[in-house]
Every structure is written in structure tokens, then in C-alpha cells.
Symmetry: D2
Subunit: 261 residues, 4 copies
């Protein structure tokens, strides 16, 4: 049996407590609904974390035990502490997978990973969305036919200000006439990143079986190789150069000194 993939589902968990429509759909929070969906795959070991926990539930220990971090944020992007953003970034660079859901396109972490504005257009009209598969054999599309539909959704539309994706897995068609790259992958350091657009909180989107299939696929796809690596500009002194080297000219740094940061 292959080893389990350890997923941490993070949710700001704000609308579920403050908005009655959302509270009714997700009484235990979006994170619980998603965690339940993931648990149906017994290769996945699932934990959850929320904004209001100490360190937002993103302790060094929790991240050390995480292979893939799934992120849902919307109203409270600004309340995520920069220290924890940096902590997560470092883990992604080492190899931890990162799955950003819906409004998390505007989360601090996703924007930091992309290096672009991550702007898009949006419309809240409960319209129909049809999610098309752009590569039928992509691991994230396994179990999905040519497309699937979401009866009521928020429209997210182009232009989507992202760097060119490594792969565009899904593109959505909207009843109102728009299109959107709704499933895209990138790599930053050794971390695999997947953005998946559907998930507006006033509709029961995370109960949709096809959405749940994609989430499970995404976690398995984003799972890291066992080897991890991140570095902070090590000095390699001249006497450890592969070729014999005579030091010439002046220097800024002493041997063993750290570089500027």
C-alpha cells in the first residue's frame, strides 16, 4: 500500500458564522465539508485548520505534518499574518503542495506565489457554469468526462491576471456569456500548485460530487516527492570549489559570513 497523503484543509471560516445563507449550507464550515469529501479516499489523511486558531492553525508542527495544503479564504485575506504567509511559502518551496480554492485567488499566499495581480472579473447571478476538461488524461481530471456542470455559481471571468499556467486543466463556460481558466497548475520551487475556481459560499458547490472528485484528484496530484529542499544562499568558500582556485582581488565578505538578505 502506498503511504498516505497528509492534507490540511484551511478555511478562514468567517461567512459560515456571519452570513445565515452560508451558515445554513455549511453549518460546520466549508473546511468540514471539504474534509469529509477528501476522507472518502482512504489514501488521504485529513486535518483542518481555521483563521481563529492559534497561529491560524499553521504551526510549524502542523506544516511539518502536511503534504498538501488546501486553502479557502475570502473576506479575511488581510487578517492572515505575514509571518504565517512566509512560513507557508517556505513549505511550498520545499515541496508541499498548495491547492487554492475559489476566492483564494486573492489570498496573500497565492498572490505571492504567482507574482501577478491575480485580478479577474466576477458576477453573482446564480448562473450555470460548465467546466470543460482541456486534457482528458490529466490526473486532476480523472473520473470527469468531457465536462461537468454546476447549476448555480458565481461567474469568475477573464481576464485572469496570472502567469501563463504550466497546464490549463479546466476552462469554464458561463450562461451569462463569459469564460474562465478555472483549473490551472504551476510549480514554485518544488511545490505543485493548483488553482480551482468553483466554490462560491452561497451555493452548495462543495457538495457537488464532480467537484469533490476534482478536489481528491488535486490532492493526489499535488503530493510531493519525499525529498524536500529549500536554501538561503549558502557561501561556498574558495577552498571548497570543485576546481583548484587561487583567490584574486578584493572581497566584500569574510569566509563563512552570511550574505545580505
Amino acid at each position: 500500500m502506498s503511504p498516505q497523503i497528509r492534507v490540511l484543509v484551511w478555511n478562514e471560516n468567517v461567512h459560515e458564522r456571519e452570513n445565515p445563507v452560508v451558515a445554513k449550507i455549511y453549518p460546520a464550515g466549508i473546511h468540514s465539508c471539504i474534509a469529509d469529501a477528501l476522507k472518502s479516499d482512504d489514501r488521504l489523511s485529513v486535518q483542518t485548520a481555521t483563521l481563529d486558531q492559534p497561529e491560524h492553525g499553521l504551526t510549524e508542527h502542523a506544516l511539518e505534518e502536511t503534504d498538501v495544503l488546501m486553502w479557502w479564504g475570502h473576506a479575511a485575506h488581510g487578517e492572515v499574518g505575514d509571518e504565517f504567509v512566509d512560513r507557508v511559502l517556505k513549505r511550498v518551496w520545499q515541496g508541499m503542495g498548495f491547492v487554492a480554492l475559489h476566492s483564494s485567488h486573492y489570498s496573500k499566499i497565492f498572490k505571492r506565489l504567482m507574482g501577478t495581480s491575480c485580478s479577474l472579473t466576477w458576477r453573482e447571478a446564480g448562473e450555470k457554469e460548465r467546466v470543460w476538461v482541456c486534457n482528458p488524461a490529466h490526473p486532476i481530471a480523472r473520473g470527469i468526462d468531457r465536462y461537468f456542470e454546476i447549476e448555480n455559481t458565481e461567474m469568475y471571468g477573464e481576464p485572469f491576471a496570472i502567469p501563463a499556467p504550466d497546464e490549463t486543466v479546466f476552462i469554464s463556460w458561463f450562461e451569462g456569456g463569459d469564460v474562465f481558466r478555472s483549473g490551472c497548475t504551476w510549480k514554485r520551487g518544488n511545490g505543485k500548485i493548483f488553482y480551482f475556481a468553483p466554490g462560491h459560499e452561497v451555493y452548495p458547490i462543495y457538495f457537488n460530487p464532480k467537484i469533490q472528485t476534482v478536489l481528491r484528484n488535486a490532492v493526489r496530484w499535488a503530493a510531493p516527492d519525499p525529498e524536500r529542499w529549500v536554501d538561503t544562499c549558502p557561501q561556498i568558500p574558495a577552498d571548497r570549489a570543485p576546481e583548484r582556485l587561487t583567490v584574486k582581488g578584493p572581497r566584500m565578505h569574510r569566509k563563512g559570513e552570511e550574505g545580505f538578505k
Copy 2:
């Protein structure tokens, strides 16, 4: 005659004032040396800015008048205010070119554009560097033969923790036995980005005619298209959808309201 490209050469200008070796090589600052090199091309209109100026010389007005920003930083990355980092990022996304030099691989702006750690290895031994052209017809390599050499340089070596470049223009060979992707391009939003590794401040590298050729080429390559664009998630109300749309289901936002940020 084609319109001029407006370059702003930014330098932290710290070592030139604090380190006698650097002060002797660049008595007027690295920025002045680079600006002089660029001015020899009369299609370029050149300004300079330094850390100690008000707003680090990066006023909205200065950036409005800038097509390409060239950046040199090393000891004082941390002193660049986050407000100005955000301001520059927005300009890059709109289309302003950004050329990061040498130790600027670790500048806040470059790291934010890349989304990776930007770590590398380094060695200060005054060794020889041979910069190889990976694509002889690339605009940034124009006027350079198969390679050029720098007699005394700081080694920057792999692994270089960057996202896969759109194009690797130069790879360097070092006397001590290392290699480095020393000239790489990316695009973020509409901004073209070029990283160029040579430039250690204790050697007179920016006086090297080949280096100067590359800097001029890089500015011309990074110059933006006249059209600029950046956006902040506009709401497109249902009555402005291209297809006729009947609003269904509940909503989180009122018409005309801004999204969460």
C-alpha cells in the same frame, strides 16, 4: 525616428559610500556608471534614483515616466519600504520592464515577482567567468559573439531557485568549476523581466563593454508596448452580461459593491 525609451536606474548606493574598495571603483555610484553606459544609446532617455531619496526616488510621478526600471540592491534590501515595493509591482504588471542586476536576485521586488526563494550559491574569489550565449539571435545577446569573459568576478552558482525562465539567454562558466543561469527572462502581467547576474561591486564589472552592451540590449528588449493594463477584480453586474441573464439564488455582494481584498 522611434520614440525614446525612458529608463530609471535605481541603486541602493550603500557600498559606494561605506566601502573604500567600492568607492574607488564607483566614486559616483554604480547607478551613475550604468546610466553613462545606457546614455551612449541615443534611443534611451536615462534617469537615476537612490534609496536615500524621498520615497527612494520611486515617486508615482517618476514611475509614470519610466518604461524600464533597472535595479541594483545588496546590503539594504530590507530598507526598501513595502509601500514602494507594491507600487513598483503594480507598474510592472501594467507593462513597465524590470531589469534586476546581480545581488538584486534577493531584492524584495524580484522575489515578489518570482514567487520562489531566489536562493543561489556564491563564492568571492575574483575568479574568471565566461558568459555563454544560449540563443545567438536573442535581442538581449545582440552584439555578443558566442561568449564573453569577465576576468574577476564573484561566482553565483546553481541551484538558482527561480521559476523556469521563459528563456535562458546566458549561462555562465566559472574558473572554480561552477555554472549559473546568468541571464533569464520572465513575464509578469505585461511587464518583461530580465535578470542579469554579473555585477559584484568590488570589481569594475559595469565598465566592461560587453556588460554595457547587454544592459542596453536588455532595456530595449524590456521596453513595453504603449498599451498598459492592470485591474483589481471589477464586478460585472448581471445586467451587463453579454448573454441575457436572469438572476437566480442568493448573493453575497450588492450590485456595484467591491469584492473582498
Copy 3:
């Protein structure tokens, strides 16, 4: 005044002679319609060529005088001689731009440049297509607002079996419910490549002013840098190595000999 860009518009010109519907729309051939559209930009110098000409009109002389080759083929992909395919490929690698239109996704040249199957799905129902701009400041989208519409079109749909584009400039929405990456860019060698999907021959699509705007933009975008380069594995003998080198061990090739091809 900047120098003119020399465009060669190539068309197989088969349907225009054999199918009365197409003949009525394009009595002088699709190539003539496109050429007229390009000529309205006086920075473009426009020639045409067709399959039935000697060497398909793709003589070495004609290609030597071409900065950007625009290609329309459909029924006669197989009749394009491999010798001319290789000739065009070599020009693209040197720097000649290549714009593939509509059914040319299945042309020999485009498939050779992509390295994938270039399959897509299609439906001929005269439905409406809405072409969305994914990056409003991209040079190929200049003069286009958020989107434009084509009243009657052939549907080209996902999955589109292409390598991940360098940039996705347009994505199309179809009345019948499909989506398609209808405007994509790549680079092969120094040649810039743009694929643009609209253009089914039984509708007057190349008379659409927005389509014509995109074609003119595409030519200007794909125009090469003056410097060209292509190579065929030159041997660099040991006595021309940058570092002094003593030849060791056995050899397969004599000095000056060509490699295997």
C-alpha cells in the same frame, strides 16, 4: 519611420474553387481577402502565395523576403510537399514569424512546430462565438475591447491538444456550450508563432473588422528581430576551446568532420 514588415499570406485555395458557397464569399480566394485587410496598415508589405504555384509559392527567394508567414490550409494539408515544410521550419527557427489560421491547426507545419497531435473537437452549426481577451494589454489584442462576437462560426472546442502556450491571448465562448483557446502564442527557435482559430470558409469571417484588427496585430507582434540564427551542430575542435585543452582518449570523429544527421 520604422521599416516595413513583409508578410506572405499563404492559402491552399481549394474550397474557393471547388465549393460554390465558399467561391461566392471569397471569389478571389481567402488569401486575397486577408491580404487586403493587411494592406490597410501601411507598415505592412503584403504578398500572397498558393498551393498550385511552383514550389507552392514558397521559393527560397520568397521566404528570404518574408518576415511573417500567414497560413491557411484545410482540405489539402497532405499535398504540401515535405521539402517545403522543412524549408519553412528552418525559416521559422531563424526568426520568421508564423501565423496559423483556423484549420491550419492540422497543417504539417503547425504540427511539426508544436510536437503534439493538435487535435480539437468541432461542430458546424453556424452558431455564435464570443472571443474573449485574456490580457487586455497584449499587442495582439490592441483595439479589441473585452470581447468581440462572430455571428456565425464553426465551433472549435476543447480539448485542444497543444503544448502549454507561452500566452493565451483569446478564449472563445460558443452558443452551443463549448469553449476554446482560440488565440495562443509560442516561440520555436527565434520564430514567434500565433494560432488564431476563427476563419471557417463557409462564413465571411475574414471580412469581420475585429478579425482583421487581430490579423494586423498578429503580424506586427510576430515580426522578427533583424538578427537571424539557425545552426546544424557545428564541431568546435579542441584547439578552439576557450580553455587550454589536451585531447585525451579515443575519438569517433576526425577534426573538421560533420556530425551524424
Copy 4:
């Protein structure tokens, strides 16, 4: 236990029979040496095939049973039948991994997958090569430290005329002063592709334990997802469109007809 990966090691096997130096190093052929190296990993199931076999050993049955095809060719690229090139390409697009070794950068299959000239520079002087790891946690670099060395090698140098790699895993430093992107990855369709430069036949390079480690890593990395897909432009008739559609205007094709190819 995870299922075995089925590797087919293909070799033109020409020099081993015609050149006494090569015959002495690889009396049973390069393919046998490589196959032995792969067999030391019991997760790999290894077969070999050579040019002189019926269908070059690339029968439909053999490819159906292959997860990863490893390729070594040099003197006889032109003798590989186009029919078998097309057959292999289709398998790669479906998902079969492809590992191109050394002089196979100029094989028909690799050039077809890349879409570029695949030119490089070369020098046969028995010089030292140092292979640097550009990403220490990349699966293909597992078990390799910062670098490894090959005492006698043929130099392959930049410019290497390839499309920008998805990832540059290795860059080589040469005693004679050159550099080369010696380990690169791409994806075409669902096939993962790895090019690995070392392997000149007059030196015993495939006996080098580090080289063997990389080959085993490469096979495991290139192994496909179980799902395969390739398509040939299916027509989706109007009555199977996801949205109700009334056919308008003229048509080129009848319902059920195949497109032009």
C-alpha cells in the same frame, strides 16, 4: 507494492558492431548495459529493442506494453522509418514517457517532439564534465549530491536549440570552458520527456554509477498516469451540443463525416 514500470531501451546498435573501440566497451551493445543498470531497480521491468529488428522492435504490441521508452541513436537516425516515428509520437501523446539520450537530440522522434532544430555545438577531446544539479529535490536528481563528474566525455555545448524546458534539471561544466543544459524536461500531450546529454559511445559513460542513478530516476519520473488519451479531431454534431442549438447557415461537412487531415 506499487506496480512495475515497463521500460523499453531502444538502441540503433551500429557503432558497437562497426567500431572496435565501442565494441570493446559495450560488447553486448549500449542497450544491454543500460538495461542492466535499470534492472537493479526491481520496480522496473526492462526490455530492449534495436534498429535491425522487424519494425525496429517497435511493434504496436511492444509499445502497448511500454510505459517509458529510452532512446539511443547516433549514426542511423535517417534509417528509422517514418511510420515508426509516427507510431512512437502517438504513444508519447497518449502518455508514454520518452527519455532521449546523448546524440538522440538529433533523432527524428526528439526533433518532432521539440519542434526546433535541436542543434548544439560539440567537441571530442576526452575532457572532464561536471554535471550540476539545478534543483536538488527534483526526482530525477535523487541520490545525486550538488554535482557529479565524468572523467572523459564528449563536450556538448550551448547554444542548444530547444524550446524553453519545463525544467532544467542539470547543467554541465566542461574542462574546455563550455556549458550545456544537459538534463531538461518537457511534456507533449501526456508524455513526459527527459533529455540527458552524457553518453558518448567511445567512453564507458553508461557504467558510471551516477549516470545509472539518473537513468533509473528518469524512468520513474517519466512513468505515465494510468489514464491515456489521444484524439483525432472528432466532430461533435449539433444535436449533441451541451446547449440547445439550432443549426444556421451553410456547412462544409455532413453530420458524422470526418474532418480533413
